[in-house]
Structures are given as C-alpha cells and as structure tokens.
C-alpha cells in the first residue's frame, strides 16, 4: 500500500511540475489531469488490501476521476476560447486577465 501511495505522490508531483513550470495553457491543463489521476490513485491505494479495495475508496476514487476530468474538459474549452481571443496559448501573454 505504502509503495503505491508513494508512486501516486510521484504522479501528483509530475502534474504539479506541468502546472508550475509550463507556459502553454493546454500543457498546464494536462498537468492538472495528471494530478487528478494521482489523487484518485492515492485514494484507491489507501483502501487497497490484498486483492480487494474498500468500497468507500472506490467511490471516492470514482468521484475524483469523473469530477476532475469534467473540470479539466471545461478548462480545455476555456483554453481554446482564450486562444481565439489572444492568438496564443502562452499564459503570460494573457495580460488582460489581471485584476
């Protein structure tokens, strides 16, 4: 269980790397999706025991996956709309979002 938890944290860290260090809006959204997958993996890994997983963990994992992916889909649509407005996916060029 502990090994899977650590690997889930690694997955979250990979996603965080994308969110913190990338400037491309779509890459940032992909990073968030990887974080969602990592969190779902962590929730499931905590409830895993032998060949079965606790039902609570499965439910929470399912909610994390479906909810997280829905939000990511909305973020992708927003990214495309922003691209149409600004002509770039570089988040630093989107100055008018300030304030």
């Amino acid at each position: 269980m502990s090994q899977l938890c650590i690997l889930s944290v690694v997955l979250v860290a990979v996603g965080l790397y994308g969110v913190l260090l990338k400037r491309n809006h779509l890459k940032i959204v992909l990073g968030i999706e990887l974080m969602v997958v990592g969190v779902a993996g962590l929730v499931v890994a905590v409830g895993a025991e032998g060949t079965s997983v606790a039902e609570v963990s499965q439910s929470l994992g399912l909610i994390a996956v479906v909810g997280g992916t829905s939000v990511v889909c909305l973020m992708i649509v927003t990214a495309v709309r922003l691209y149409e407005k600004y002509g770039t996916l570089d988040i630093r060029e989107m100055r008018r979002l300030k304030g």
Binding site: I6, L7, L11, G15, V44, V77
Partner: protein, 153 residues
C-alpha cells in the same frame, strides 16, 4: 500484484512526462491517452473495477475534447518550454517542497500523518491542524487584498 500495479504507475508517470514534454499536439495527446489507459488497467488489476470503468469513460470524453482543442489551436507547441527568472526558482523550490512534505506525510513520519489526523481535539495534533487552517485563511485573505486595486492597464 502490487508490484504489477507499481510498474504500471511508473509507466503512467513516464507517459505523463512525455505528454508534458512532447511538442507536437498529436504526440502529446497520444501520450496522455496511454497514461489514462494504463491507469484504468492498474485499477482493474488492483480490483477497483468501478474506478477503472469510470476512468475509461472519462478518458474517452477527455481525448475527444483534447482532439477538438488540438484542431482549433496550434499543432506544434511554439510556447517556450519553461518559465524564466525568479519564477522558475520559486516553482522548482515549491515542487521540491511539495514532494518532500507529501512523501514524509504518506510514510507517516509526521504528527500530521494521514493515519493520525483523527487526533483528540485540544491535543497537539488538533492545535497544529487548527493553526494550519488559520494560516491558510490569512494567506487567502492577503491574496485577495493584494488583488484589490490592480486594474487592467
């Protein structure tokens, strides 16, 4: 079985890095598809069938939306790969700090570890947790106050 799932998780992490680093939109899309598919397989192997099925459905929807997004934006990523200057240093420090704290908490070496979060109210764990909440609230208030007055130029 756990070793099989561990190998799958490592492959997911590699596919994730590939999705973030590849410059072509199609390659990036394929890599994230592989990562999500492997995660679904890992869930099936682990016995979490509901999560696996949910992941497959969510992955299909996400890949369709990503394909649409790739068709309506740039096919090649022309944005510079990394942030620059002080922001880069701050981001790297944040990333390292997150990994260290998360690993320490997951391994159960802190009083704030997952297994001990249900500590008695009024005990040192409860006080630490409440202090953390107050610090977070103050940070949020500061961030909101800082935004006030910064208008579009």
């Amino acid at each position: 079985m756990e070793s099989t799932v561990s190998v799958l998780f490592v492959l997911i992490a590699i596919a994730g890095v590939a999705a973030l680093e590849l410059r072509q939109a199609r390659s990036s899309l394929a890599a994230i598809g592989v990562a999500l598919g492997l995660f679904a397989v890992a869930m099936f192997v682990l016995g979490a069938v509901e999560v696996g099925i949910g992941m497959i459905v969510a992955a299909v929807a996400l890949l369709l939306v990503l394909r649409w997004a790739a068709a309506h934006t740039e096919t090649n990523d022309s944005v510079p790969a990394f942030a620059e200057g002080a922001g880069l240093v701050f981001a790297l420090l944040s990333l390292v700090a997150f990994v260290v704290v998360a690993l320490v908490v997951v391994r159960g070496n802190l009083p704030l570890a997952v297994a001990q979060l249900g500590g008695e109210e009024g005990g040192h764990v409860g006080l630490l947790r409440e202090g953390l909440v107050i610090v977070t609230a103050v940070a949020a208030a500061w961030a909101m106050l800082r935004k006030k007055g910064r208008k579009d130029q």
